[in-house]
Symmetry: C2
Subunit: 200 residues, 2 copies
């Protein structure tokens, strides 16, 4: 436990609360399901956390869904400093790791040390993809933009010249976390190709 | 348990997932903390769920924080149909109850029956404010816009002609859920008045 006095703890928590409001201004690549605008990281974080509750039965038996929810709530906080990276841009993805680590060092440290360690651990677990919880969380993080692109006649796929092969590589991450959602995702990609939303 | 076949369950869950994307387009009264635009319900739902994790120690001992998080994730879904109601508009708040009930009937029912019942129960509990979890969730739901308005030199308070008396009435809901956050909120209101953000 920490030795910080109560008042300082609350002050640190308020500072963190004000800081993370910035996640609402980090813009992602995919559109909302009505195609009206691009999604931001905060509403994306809510959405995938909801998907964890809704699709809980598609996680491997014994998966701690409440931990998945907590992980998805914090998984993009580092993007406040590091920005969103396009999953299909391999060079950017590689360069991103260092920037995200520096962001984690700064942002989580705004909290009292015990809380900072807890949230950072959630983020590290998400990134490492070694636990069923992290793999299911990652699956949902990939499933959501696929669903959005499919529901907006391809959404931003044509804009960023994304191919079916690239999307299928991402579907592997969905399968790893949830075989049944993975199977559904493969079907979505095939339907997207056959409807002309996604070039083969 | 339900007797709906697996494939129909997944189909119902996907339908619900597509439907709740609409929460990203329900606009609230308060601004983001940088004053750039108004907040939407989806990013607000993420934000207050994060606050539940960050301020967990300010809930009464024994409060089930994971239930608070789940409650805050679903608490505004009914606004997809019923829209956002301004807390300081008493007439609108009274008329809203019926519209929200009808919205709950429609939206939760998109899910398989067992899941619909579970999410609806979370929403009913939030609305009833009888459990420590619901009272803490409501406290955070009121605390977040207060923090946003204070951090944006009054934000939308002048636009909607809100007075310190009105805000203080809302602070009572914060105190009910969390005495320490309530005390901090009273201090925030006083500072807002002394800085000229809020007329007495």
């Amino acid at each position: 436990m920490t030795t910080v006095p109560e008042k300082d703890r609350l002050h640190a928590q308020i500072t963190f609360a004000v800081e993370i409001d910035k996640l609402k201004r980090i813009i992602r690549r995919n559109l909302l399901m009505d195609g009206s605008r691009r999604e931001n990281d905060a509403e994306h974080s809510w959405y995938v956390s909801m998907l964890a509750m809704v699709f809980a039965e598609h996680a491997p038996p014994g998966t701690d869904i409440q931990r998945v929810v907590a992980m998805l709530m914090v998984h993009d906080l580092v993007e406040i400093d590091a920005g969103d990276t396009f999953v299909h841009d391999a060079v950017a993805v590689a360069a991103q790791a260092e920037a995200e680590r520096a962001a984690a060092d700064r942002i989580f440290a705004l909290l009292p040390a015990d809380q900072a360690a807890g949230l950072r651990q959630l983020w590290e677990e998400f990134e490492a993809r070694e636990t069923p919880e992290a793999r299911f969380a990652r699956a949902l993080d990939r499933f959501a933009p696929l669903l959005a692109n499919h529901n907006t006649q391809g959404g931003t796929w044509p804009l960023f010249k994304v191919t079916a092969d690239q999307v299928m590589r991402n579907v592997r991450l969905i399968e790893e976390g949830s075989p049944s959602l993975g199977a559904y995702a493969i079907d979505l990609v095939r339907r997207s190709v056959s409807m002309g939303y996604l070039p083969e």
